[in-house]
Structure formats: structure tokens, C-alpha cells
């Protein structure tokens, strides 16, 4: 006789009622997990912004304010040169680099000339204005209004000698890599820009 034939009268192995109890437990656990997924609240997005040039200031800010319009919880952690984007004065004076930018219609040798960065910056600012694109300042204000959390990395504030009072009102300081990682672990979407 085969040994794997089901045998209700077998004394070893779980009884029917024990199996039923196990099944009920599993069902309950599944329901809990399901409701956790359903009631997880809004999606969460964390962007780590590292760049401080005029062109690279835009992607994190545009994604942040759009995600906030989706009703998501948004945190943008600014580190290194991206601190300029949160700096009230510097953010109005971000520059575009003509050198090392393959999209620039000029060779690097010419792009490296002293006036080229300011010319490229002026051109891009004019283009942004013509296209009705918001300024960096407007995007920061829009983000803050929508509840976006803009964080300034404390380590780089100290390293680059920034004055904490010079950031926009509402910017969070006193946070570091561990805070960013913790936020990212809880987030649905994590981006490094």
C-alpha cells in the first residue's frame, strides 16, 4: 500500500480541525496584509538632488511639484551643489555650464572662454521664459505650498559653509544620510538626480 495515501484516521499529522484553525490564521494574516496595502495612504517619493546648475535644478523640482499634485508625499533631499537650489539668493543666480555639455552647439575650446557660461545661462533663461516655464524660485514656492518637504543635507551645509538662515523659509535642515535612507526605505519611488 502506498504510504502517501490520505488517511483521515492517521493518528500522526494534524487533524482536520487543526488544519482549519491554521487556515483561519492564514486568512486573517492575509486580510491584515491586504488592508495594510490598501490603506497604505498616498504614495511616497524621495528624490536626492545633487546638482546645482540651472538646467539640473529643474528635473527634481518639476517632478516634486507634479507628484505633490498627484497627492503623494514628497521629500527632496538636497546635497552638495543642489544646496544652491534651496538658497534664496543663489537659486535666482544658477548658471548653465557651456563646457562639457554635448548639447551646446560649440566646441569645448570656445565654450571655455570667460563669457560663455553667462551667455549660455542668459540664452536658457530667455528660452525658459518664452516657453512659460516656471522659475526655480516659483517651483520652490509651489512645492512648499503643496507640502513638499525640502531638506538640506547638514553635512554639506557645514562642508560648503552655508548659512542655514539663507535657505527659503520652510526648508528642513539638520538632516543627514541616515534620514534620507530611512525615508527612501519607506518610499515607493526613489530617485537620484
Amino acid at each position: 500500500m502506498s504510504t502517501d495515501t490520505p488517511d483521515a484516521s492517521a493518528s500522526d499529522g494534524p487533524s482536520r480541525s487543526e488544519l482549519q484553525a491554521q487556515l483561519d490564521d492564514l486568512q486573517e494574516e492575509l486580510n491584515d496584509l491586504q488592508s495594510e496595502v490598501d490603506d497604505g495612504g498616498p504614495k511616497k517619493m524621495v528624490i536626492v538632488a545633487t546638482k546645482g546648475t540651472l538646467d539640473m535644478a529643474y528635473p527634481p523640482l518639476i517632478l516634486a511639484s507634479t507628484a505633490a499634485a498627484f497627492g503623494w508625499d514628497v521629500t527632496v533631499f538636497h546635497t552638495f551643489w543642489a544646496l544652491d537650489v534651496l538658497h534664496e539668493e543663489q537659486s535666482k543666480d544658477l548658471k548653465l555650464s557651456a563646457v562639457g555639455n554635448p548639447s551646446m552647439p560649440m566646441p569645448n575650446a570656445i565654450a571655455a572662454m570667460p563669457f560663455m557660461d553667462s551667455m549660455a545661462t542668459k540664452m536658457m533663461k530667455r528660452k525658459l521664459d518664452e516657453e512659460g516655464t516656471a522659475t526655480v524660485e516659483e517651483l520652490i514656492d509651489m512645492g512648499l505650498d503643496q507640502g513638499v518637504e525640502f531638506q538640506a543635507c547638514q553635512m554639506t551645509i557645514d562642508l560648503l559653509d552655508y548659512d542655514e538662515d539663507a535657505f527659503y523659509d520652510g526648508v528642513t535642515v539638520g538632516v543627514g544620510a541616515a534620514t534620507a535612507l530611512q525615508d527612501m526605505a519607506d518610499a515607493d519611488i526613489q530617485l537620484l538626480v
Binding site: 518639476i62 511639484s65 507634479t66 505633490a68 499634485a69 498627484f70 497627492g71 516657453e131 512659460g132 516655464t133 516656471a134 517651483l139 509651489m142 503643496q146
Partner: protein, 86 residues
């Protein structure tokens, strides 16, 4: 698409580029009551894809209709969004 609706408010975002049409639409919808309909008037051609993307991902709103017209030789994109829940 169904055209059985009455516009409650109109939002003019002509001349504004991404992400302003979506952000302002969200803000305007927040100020409406359930079942009211917002008309969004934009010149950003990207809004034809962005507003549906936003409406699909956002709870409590429904995109009813989109229209592409021309005003004074300029392309104008109209979007009709209903707030479905408060």
C-alpha cells in the same frame, strides 16, 4: 465622450509650461465641491497627455473630455475634469 456636464469653474493656464497646468489644476480641483466640473484652458501641448496621466493616478477626479481648438492662430487645449469625491 460624454458631453453631459456643466462647467463650474474655468482655469486659464495659457502660456504656462509643465508642471504648472497640472499643479494649478490640482489646486483648483481642491477648491471645488463634489460633482463640480473644472475647465482647464492650456497652450502647453504636453497637457494633452499630462492631464489624463494626472487624472488617472489621482483619487477623486475624473477626466470627462479633452478638446483641441485654435484661438487667434494659437493652439489651445481644453480639459474637463470632474471632482468625484470631496
Amino acid at each position: 465622450m460624454s458631453t453631459e456636464y456643466t462647467v463650474t469653474e474655468t482655469l486659464d493656464v495659457k502660456g504656462a509650461g509643465c508642471p504648472i497646468p497640472v499643479v494649478k489644476t490640482k489646486q483648483a480641483i481642491d477648491d471645488l465641491a463634489a460633482e463640480e466640473v473644472l475647465e482647464v484652458v492650456a497652450t502647453d501641448s504636453g497637457s494633452m497627455s499630462d492631464i489624463p496621466g494626472w487624472a488617472e493616478t489621482t483619487a477623486g477626479v475624473e477626466l470627462l473630455d479633452q478638446e483641441e481648438t485654435s484661438e487667434d492662430g494659437e493652439d489651445v487645449y481644453k480639459h474637463y475634469v470632474r471632482k468625484t469625491e470631496q
